[in-house]
Subunit: 301 residues, 4 copies
């Protein structure tokens, strides 16, 4: 039987940057400090393909994913990102004609959170991880890693609040009383979805839970599944005491990253993307930025 | 060539309720009072299939859709619903073995709306329509029609507002001053998506624009693409003066239907479905009800 | 603090059929024969609301879901469907004003499958479950349950195959040779998504894995993550020896249900919905049917 | 009233790369050779924000979009891409603090296509366009443009076909007869979604319809809404005479670009992304490449 993949292309050859499989779903076991959790991840894996070769051996990708996933059932992996690194490394050794292998994964992730001790429940987040392995002659491949998370929280708009204060003061002059200077005023508020991702140089590391904590600290308020009546009002009041544009969410999160992760090297690169599903519009507003920690540190100084 | 579809099934025959095509996208021209609009509709069409027949002639469905759509380019249709009625009737005559034909369509729809004359823009809504034709011996088929629309607006929560008033009054006793009795108090607010659908007996009719007006009247506030600063605050204040649970949205919309459409017969059936994308939770809350106008009128009396 | 939910509606009251929360995601532990699996389910829960009451206590729904889910961490549930029954029953006792409670859940589910012993991998399916509890005076509530699953497989078209045989025979008269009578001929083939659901009377029961087996037996072929070259060709050849319209998938699955589950009572109700993502069209074709086993048994006799 | 957006950020300032609105839907009129078509586009628009400023004036974005769209109702735009260029240029003049403005748009697009003259129907495609305006001192801004399209067609797998030929020849030795050497053999086939995008230097131009033609020429076969029986078999046979890996689709499309658009300058950059929704797997396979025409021309030489 002729090896169709290994044959030469019919027409003029062209190097292809990425050939692979996507939308593969796999459950895998991850070791957290105190427990093993099951994540169901969506993988995309790809390698490059030289101009001299017609096809990539895609069945190897699915086999490799199955082996790696099966292995975590016996010995839980350290993190979604370490699973990606393992797969990228193995891909490169199985596709001998490739010079690069890339693996992306996203997985829903639950943490027990609550507004108080007695109101804990599982809140859902998203983990994202990426690994890229680049062939390096006879040396082990160079590995590039990214790790991130996404959290849904709440933003209240500072501008509508300021304008509403002005309009309401025209109608209720008592609002001018200094005793009401700090009264939270109505504004529009809405779900905000924020993603924070790090590209890490070798040796640097960061915990998914710490990424999620940082994101939630930069929104107007985290949100919770279980809220009794006073809790609801408390979340609402807190969010209106901490109003945020999407611009504020990005800027504050960049500054939180500097404050919370001083040990990360200047070469680490951070990306923030945030979207508020505006309650007063049918469309979303969003903001994003990407920079190395070195760049952020020099700007912030 | 053997007619595979018309042959008998291989195993034991079974009547099949619905066989058809779905996710077909087609642009079509609709005549509104003052203009022709282009809607891009997603169609699902189906007929039933007797136990004696292996397959339905599905290519006829696609041909028929193409003909009907082409015809609207020359002579715009009266409404999405009239297009569905035409297709259902023709399906029944082309599938001689069928006893029923059903057509569903949804289409994005734009109306010029604004908080004031100078702030108009196109807001997007969804139209839904359905027609079912049932064979009736030698008589023309019986036709059943449904027409509806979906609008995204805003709800502010009455319960969190009441609790926030209590908590804030503890901190700001001046809120007890009767001059502030009507001051809008912070609450969570969010996008609300509401769908209103009518199943209409023969002869009864209703305009899509009137359905959209009714929905927007039952939310805490409509929402707009263009809002300058004072407009934003006005929408926010209006919504907080008109706080609504999802339960209120359904109930108020049912009552609006009775008030706005007195000419609709008791046999007309109405369905309301509403979802608020809660800003303080990661999940949605929703409410729905369906009843004949006769039932609603007797309850409401 | 006034109980806003328990107060009377502002306008004319209207009974509401369903009020609840939706899109709640929760991981839960399920006991299978030989292992505990973690499912991440999406829940929708709702109760009805009398005309005299403004709102439903929605925070109770989230609390209850959290408690039930936490309990499965200590003691895995028997099935997704039994979790739904437990939640529906508890909802009714916590919402004393409600007469009905309804719970829907869907969850991704993995089974180890393969074309041969050495080619096993985790294939993903969808589980669906529903429970409805109806108040019954002083008696325990009446419980209605539904359980189902969805599987993606493959269909090859019998009609295009027959026509291709005719056209190819004109070009290759040797195809008339009786030795080639059973040669599989090219046709279009594609992903087929089929859902099979049972509404079960009290006492009747059915395993999710058996539902999935039944679905895969009615498609042209199951599909697999890991296929080496000969396996790929084997799946392709098998599918073309077993060509199916969507009509065949529904009909054959209804007949498989009769054959595989003879112990299910006549009152059990079965629903089949199937969609083929046609490779030769940009749209899908689909077929569906719903009937009691009693009705199917009498038709099939 | 204080201008909240123009005030300084509360904490340490940070430059933000992109601040804007997304998921805005707008219908717009486009002039084609022989007719005016209505496209409904989804826009994302963004500008950058200096570290000294708290917020971007997002309401200007929505106003500008409304004005541009309204203008096309009176005077249809030349293309989706020219609309994006107009919006990006205007954004930069309205956001005086910004140094860059970026606009992305996607829109469903219909073309009349068919396997023969008498079988025409509207097939749906996707248009994509992007414009970026970069401030350039007192000069007009520099403009960067991208234009592309996406088409769904069909691929048949060359590898499974080759293996199936081997397996079937073992069973049907008559397949060794030279008269059957060119008989198309069964393989898996499926929907393939391919996107081709060009980044164009000033002066270069390309028609959306020509992009779609190029894509369809690189798939195993285009697909059609209306196919009578012989047409279905013809499409199937053609696709199996033209089997393609995703790798072939990318490579062949890159070569088609060189052949079809010789007038495009070396500096133009092309990107191809293709995904086949494998009928024998539950996951997709995909391939992509991006290069300048100069790079492709030198490789291909």
């Amino acid at each position: 039987m002729r090896d169709v993949h290994a044959s030469a292309p019919e027409g003029r050859g062209q190097l292809l940057r990425r050939v692979g499989v996507s939308t593969i779903r796999k459950p895998l076991s991850i070791q957290r400090k105190d427990r093993v959790v099951t994540l169901t991840a969506t993988f995309r894996v790809a390698v490059d393909l030289p101009a001299s070769r017609k096809g990539s051996d895609l069945s190897r990708n699915a086999e490799l994913l199955a082996e790696v996933i099966d292995a975590t059932a016996l010995r839980p992996a350290a993190s979604l990102e370490s699973v990606c690194v393992g797969i990228a490394t193995d891909l490169l050794s199985r596709h001998s004609y490739a010079t690069e292998a890339e693996v992306d994964a996203t997985a829903e992730y639950f943490l027990s959170r609550g507004i108080s001790e007695g109101r804990q429940s599982l809140e859902d987040y998203l983990l994202v991880a990426q690994a890229r392995a680049v062939r390096n002659g006879a040396e082990p491949p160079q590995i590039f890693r990214a790790i991130g998370a996404e959290a849904v929280g709440m933003t209240a708009c500072p501008c509508a609040m300021e304008t509403a204060r002005t309009l309401l003061t025209e109608e209720f002059p008592l609002l001018n009383d200094p005793a009401l200077a700090k009264l939270p005023i109505v504004s529009h508020n809405q779900r905000n979805r924020t993603r924070l991702t790090f590209e890490l140089p070798p040796g640097a590391d960061i915990e998914a839970d710490a990424i999620i904590d940082a994101i939630e600290s930069a929104q107007s308020s985290p949100t919770y599944a279980i809220l009794k009546r006073r809790d609801e009002a408390t979340v609402v009041i807190n969010a209106h005491r901490n109003p945020k544009f999407v611009e504020d969410v990005v800027r504050d999160l960049l500054n939180e990253v500097l404050r919370r992760f001083p040990e990360l090297p200047d070469a680490a690169r951070v990306r923030v993307e945030t979207t508020s599903e505006e309650s007063i519009h049918k469309y979303d507003v969003s903001a994003s930025h990407a920079a190395t920690l070195g760049e952020l540190r020099s700007t912030a100084a």
